[in-house]
Amino acid sequence: MATFPKFRTLAGAGMLASAALLAFACAKRPASSGLLSADAAKAVYVAPGQYDEFYAFMSGGFNGQIGVYGLPSGRRLKTIPVFSQYPENGYGYSEETKAMLNTSYGFIPWDDTHHPALSQTNGEDDGRWLFINANNTPRIARIDLTRFETEEILEIPNAGGNHGSPFVTQNSEYVVASTRFSVPVPNTDVPITEFKKRFKGQISFIRADEPGKMRVAFQMLMPAFNYDLARAGKGQSNGWMFLSMYNTEQANSLLEVNASQNDKDFVAAVNWKAIEACAQKGVLKNVAASYLHNFTDEFTREAKSTTLTSVPQFEAKQCPGAVYFLPTPKSPHGADVDPTGEFIVAGGKLASVIPVHSFPKMLKAIEAKAFEGDIEGIPVLKYEATLAGEVKNPGLGPLHTEFDGKGYAYTSFFISSEVVKWKLGTWEVVDRVPTYYSVGHLMIPGGGTMKPNAKYLVSMNKITKDRYLPTGPELTQSAQLYDISGDKMKLLLDFPTEGEPHYAQAIEAKKIKDKQVKFFKLAESKAPHITRSEKETGLSRNGRIVHVRMTAVRSHFSPDNIEGVQVGDTVLFHVTNLEQDWDVPHGFAIMGAQNGELLIMPGETRTLKWIPRKPGVYPMYCTDFCSALHQEMQGYVRVSAPGSAVALSGVTSKGPQSAAKAAGAPKQ
């Protein structure tokens, strides 16, 4: 999305830019949508104790997480940490979760999430998993939707900027990962000016239908362009993936000008079933690479990293029929397939029309060899041969299109800050509504699948300016909810979002809410440092490492008085939450800890590493308000000088501690 500003310096952009400014000025009209505000309020009002109709999963953009919201209320329900450490629940801080953020570049505490994708069965969102990309250090994560937590992350080798990712096939066989930046493959020290000669693009298909088994099934080397977005074919076009790309000029500097020269770039049509056949014939080579796969087992609840050492790779031209280029104006962002699988809508950021390709026409064109040439052995089809139609004068800066399953498409326009509804087949614009301001992606629940549930549309805006109470230089990001159940789109609600809501998915709540894990069963836990009852608690020392196996239950820790720790020891607090009841997490924090806290779900074991720096007595306490006596849920750790004779011990009073006992107790 950040590619937009290039537009201002375009040769012919003066006119467009002033149009953009004009559009911006026009957009500053009062926030009326022709709907009485009382009606809008009613439409989004979810009474206390009632549930929203949809879960919405909105990428956090540069916060690296996913925000979960209810629709239509816009209420934020949760942040799911994915690619960034999350102090609130210890993700990326606790010993069990750190490995999720390991990469071939080491531990990385942050990334940039863009495109969540729900898993599908028969072309319909099924609510099992959510996938999302890490843009900066290329990775794809799988989030389990019974636990709302990240369970698996696969690094993508030979990628630079995993933007065109992860788009899911109609039975979740694959998610796709295409590289935004072309890079040398393998990545070595070469002059940047040798871009055209040495750099490569690539499109990877990740096997995704089994947790714990995410793997790059095949990686297709492509010309060194910038790959942007994608959408899987569906129905009649199942077996294909359509990917947009820009910078077919192959610029490596000042892309805003240099990558905006060609009138047309491409949508790539990739036939992954043909590639599977090529793989059977042995076209793929296992090429050396080094990248990580991180997985959290459901029962140990401990993330493990595995280094993978090769990737199945091939050059596009080695598998004839694997990929075709569809010329598309101009620097396309979205490549969106309608619910029938017939049309591929390209959002050409700099185009004055919305071009729509036809899948059946494309097949005919391929059969008739209606090629205008080839690029590195990839046939380029003739524009007219695949074109179904063009939406004329739709607006400025078309980006992304979703569908309602009733024959209409909805396209976002960044520059003219609006959503435009148009009809598939006749290509006529039937309605347009302003957004406040500069919409990027938009989202209809199921709007990218074969079965949209088109009651609402959410626009995710890049700029909020005057829409909310100001908060210094950085303003809130925002989403807007529209009612699209009728002929005319109606703005219902603005709601702030965390990070940058880049793209989102939404799904009927009923597909998810009754499958929720309420707690982890102690009896089934395979956590290596679990303490199953207070009787099993204990301390042990191994050189300078001290293991504290402790439990938390309303409303005490066991042990809660620990002595014998020495300055410089590495203390590992393995805390098991013994509760077996919903909504009773316990927290654990200790003064001076340099990483974070633990938030431990019922039945879960989490480990905090702590290295005390000076002697003294250190308070520890439960950080999650667990019970009426939460404030009593505390203890002390005594830290002595190195070499001290204080024996390692941990106790919890077994019953009432009388004043006399308390006074005489301390042992030395």
């Binding site: 707690f519 239950v553 509760e579 077996q580 009841d581 009426a628 019953g655 009432p656």
Partner: protein, 201 residues
Amino acid sequence: MPKTARILVAVAALLMSAGFVLPLWRVDLIAPQYPEGLGMLIRVNTVVGVKEQDLNSINNLNHYIGMKRIEPDAIPELKYMPAILGTLVVTALLVALIGRRRVLYGWTVAFGAVLVAGLYDYWKWGYEYGHDLDVDTAIIKIPDMTYQPPLIGSKQLLNFVATSWPASGGWLLVLASILVAVAVWQSVRGTAHAATAARPA
């Protein structure tokens, strides 16, 4: 014994035998923090949670008021209740088989005594749990407050509303009792008719 009375007693025996598989009694606890409720099912040989972890959760909550943990293995009644129920079922079948009125009357008295004793024992069990509180470890101590669940019906116990009712097996036991009562009534009436019929004209 009239034939219908014999059949009724046999059916009652079958209904009672359902007590081996179905829970006899159910206690539900609802509080603001537990809108979904916690519950216990009392079976002939054990006490279990309505949901898998309910008993554990109830015990954890009870520690605040110093109540003993409810440990099915430590409750002696649960050890011999299956034998008592088994004896009732077998003897009821024998009553139906023998078909003698006096045997039925004698058995009914014994059956009634067992039911009354059982209810008394259950009440006493609740009384002991509700009153025998460990005042040293109790965290919440309210003068004169006890926590005996009701035998039947609802009662507010701090933030919880405790409701106690027969469960499916218990209701079948009630139905069995009614059948036995009908059998007795028929037998008594049958005797009266026979006496009238036997009177010389």
